[in-house]
Every structure is written in structure tokens, then in C-alpha cells.
Amino acid sequence: MLRLALDTSTPVGSVAIGRAGEILAESLLRVRATHSEAVLPEIDRLLNDCGLGASDLQGVVVGGGPGSFTGVRIAASLAKGMCHARGLELFSFSSLAAVAAGAGSEGPVCAMFDARRGQVYAAGYRVGEGIEELFAPRAGPLDRVLMDLGEPGDWCFAGDGAGAGEDAIRSAGGQVLDPDTWVPSARALLWLAAVDPDRGRVADPGRWEPGYVRLPSAQRGTGA
């Protein structure tokens, strides 16, 4: 079951090829602006390096956001296009789940991306043999997310949102994990598809759209 995984929801893009718990090739792309130009050639290069071609692939695993509006759509379009053209199976997991899966922490992990203009995207997971979602991806101001966690000191935080909010997280007692673990990695997506394929399987890739995260109702209100 040879699969390609990709995530471009944050400034660091990630591509990997693997099968049955084995990573054959992977790479990181560090320039957000050129995700659209860089990803496809990188997929070609990785396949070449492995002596494989696109026709050898059986599935695509995509990080479905949340994250950069443009970036999430780049990975989604590529994944849908490849599945359509080659009749491949599509799997999608939250890019926040990919961060948690790659964080290497045994306790609860709060994965966070910077959503700009005062907000973060956040979700909570516990990772072991598989992955358990403790709270679903949401958008909101960092202090609200921390408040809703109850005891932030029980959690580890990863992702560029955790980096941006590092001071607030630390003063709330939380531990911010090493920046190396902040990327939603394609390697982690391959792992998720291996341990929990049913959660990620997309029945109809043509109709699939990446997730859109709304604010919790407590944060609504137009004010003024």
C-alpha cells in the first residue's frame, strides 16, 4: 500500500512517501510563498529517488488544515487532482492531528497554529498506539483556548501558534515543545493513515473540501 502524504497548511510544507509503517522518502519545504510551485516537483523528485513513479501510488494522505487559507487549498487541490486522475484512495486528517502525532509526547498535546489577527487554531489529542481527539479543531483567542483547557499545566503545546503564544502558555504553566515538532509532517500523516484509516478515509474525493473551523459560540457577537 504505497501512499503519498502532503501538508502545506503552514509556512513549512511537508511531503513523504511510505508504505506499511515504513517511510521511503520525505522532505520539508520551507518557503510558504512557493508551496504551489514547489510541491509537485518535490513529489516527482521523491518518487524518482525511490525509483518509483506516480503509477505505483495507491493512496494520498492530505493534511486538511486548518491553517493558511491558500496553503490548505494547495495541498487539497493536488491531492484531489491526483486521486481523480489515478483513481487513488484519499485520506484526510487534521493538520493539527499531524502536529500532535509528531510531537512525541505521551501526555495530552494541544496543537496550535497562528490564525492571525489575535486568533489561533487549536485541537487537543492524546497519542499512543493510536490517536485520541480530546477536543476538535477550533478557532479562538489564545487566552480563551488556555482557559478552556482547565489545567494548561497538564498539557504540552506544539505548532507555530504555540510559538507565537509561548509566553502566555508558559505563564499558565504549560510546556511548549521543541520547534522541531511544530510542523504538521507528512510522516505523521502516513502514520495516522496506518493506525486509523477509517477516521481519515474520504468516500468521495471529488466532493471533499478541507475543513473550515468556526469560533465557539461563546466567542460570537458583533459588538459595537
Binding site: 487559507f69 492571525r116 473550515y212 459595537a224
Partner: protein
């Protein structure tokens, strides 16, 4: 970081336009997300156009009612995004118009009918609410700066009208 309403002010159309220019100038510099609320005819478009002028936009500023978002070049080459959510009936329509991209941009963003995006508005923003008054030559204006944003300019009028 106080988040209190400022106003109300009772502004004539000329005062509203002059205020819009002041507001637009600061909004461009800070890349502020500006939400405009108010019924049809309350003055949102007048205020938005004036804000675009204040941000240095030259040339025509057509209504974005049908295009949903218009993009202009402001002072110093900075981008000004002008959105109108009137035709967005439910929040389900937001993804297709590129809402998330507007929120994530560092541009100055003007959003008319911002209440249609309730629940999806960014934390850092200016809220400007416009209402009708018994004196039909004036509009009631209430301002609020939320989150980490530059100070929201106030209208250059003599006094607030506490009765309005």
C-alpha cells in the same frame, strides 16, 4: 486594552466622509480589519469609500455587492480589500468568497454587513456601527476597537450627542 464603545456621534454625510478618510489612513498603516454594521442606507458604503480614499486609493471604487470583494492599491503599494457580505445569506457562503484569506491577510480590510460573518470575525478588529437618527441628515456612529489593534480615530466633531 479597554474594549468600550466610543460615541455615539451624530454625523452629517460630509462629517462621515471626512471621518472615513481619517479612519482609512490609520487602517492602512496598521493593516486593520474594519467591520461595518448598519442597515441599507445607513452610510456603510459612504464610510467605506471614504476610508479607501483615506488609504490612498485613486480611481473608481465600485460597490463590492456583486463581486463580494474588491481589491485596490493604496498608499505605498499596500493592498486594500473591500468586502460586502450583503449577498452572503449564511456563513456557509464564507469559504467560497475567500473569507479565511481576508482574515489571514495583513492588508487593510473593510467589511460591509460584517454581522453576516458572526462567529467568524477575527479577534483583532475595529467595529463601526451606523444607525439612522430622527434627524435624517445625520447618522449615529458607535466605535469599538477590539484586541490588539491601533487606536481607532474618532470623528472630528465638537461633541458627542448623549441623547442619540
Amino acid at each position: 486594552m479597554s474594549e468600550l464603545d466610543v460615541g455615539p456621534f451624530a454625523l452629517t454625510e460630509a462629517e462621515l466622509a471626512r471621518y472615513g478618510q481619517d479612519m482609512g489612513r490609520v487602517a492602512l498603516e496598521g493593516g486593520v480589519f474594519v467591520c461595518l454594521y448598519g442597515d441599507l442606507g445607513a452610510g456603510k458604503s459612504t464610510l467605506a469609500r471614504a476610508a479607501c480614499r483615506g488609504a490612498g486609493v485613486t480611481g473608481p471604487i465600485p460597490s463590492p455587492t456583486f463581486t463580494l470583494v474588491n481589491q485596490y492599491e493604496g498608499r505605498g503599494g499596500a493592498t486594500v480589500q473591500h468586502a460586502d457580505l450583503y449577498r452572503i445569506e449564511t456563513v456557509e457562503g464564507l469559504p467560497d468568497m475567500g473569507w479565511e484569506g481576508l482574515v489571514q491577510s495583513e492588508d487593510m480590510v473593510l467589511v460591509e454587513w460584517a454581522d453576516r460573518a458572526e462567529g467568524f470575525l477575527p479577534e483583532d478588529r475595529w467595529d463601526i456601527r451606523l444607525d439612522f437618527l430622527a434627524d435624517t441628515t445625520r447618522r449615529r456612529v458607535v466605535l469599538r476597537a477590539r484586541g490588539r489593534v491601533p487606536r481607532l480615530p474618532e470623528p472630528r466633531v465638537a461633541a458627542e450627542d448623549p441623547s442619540c
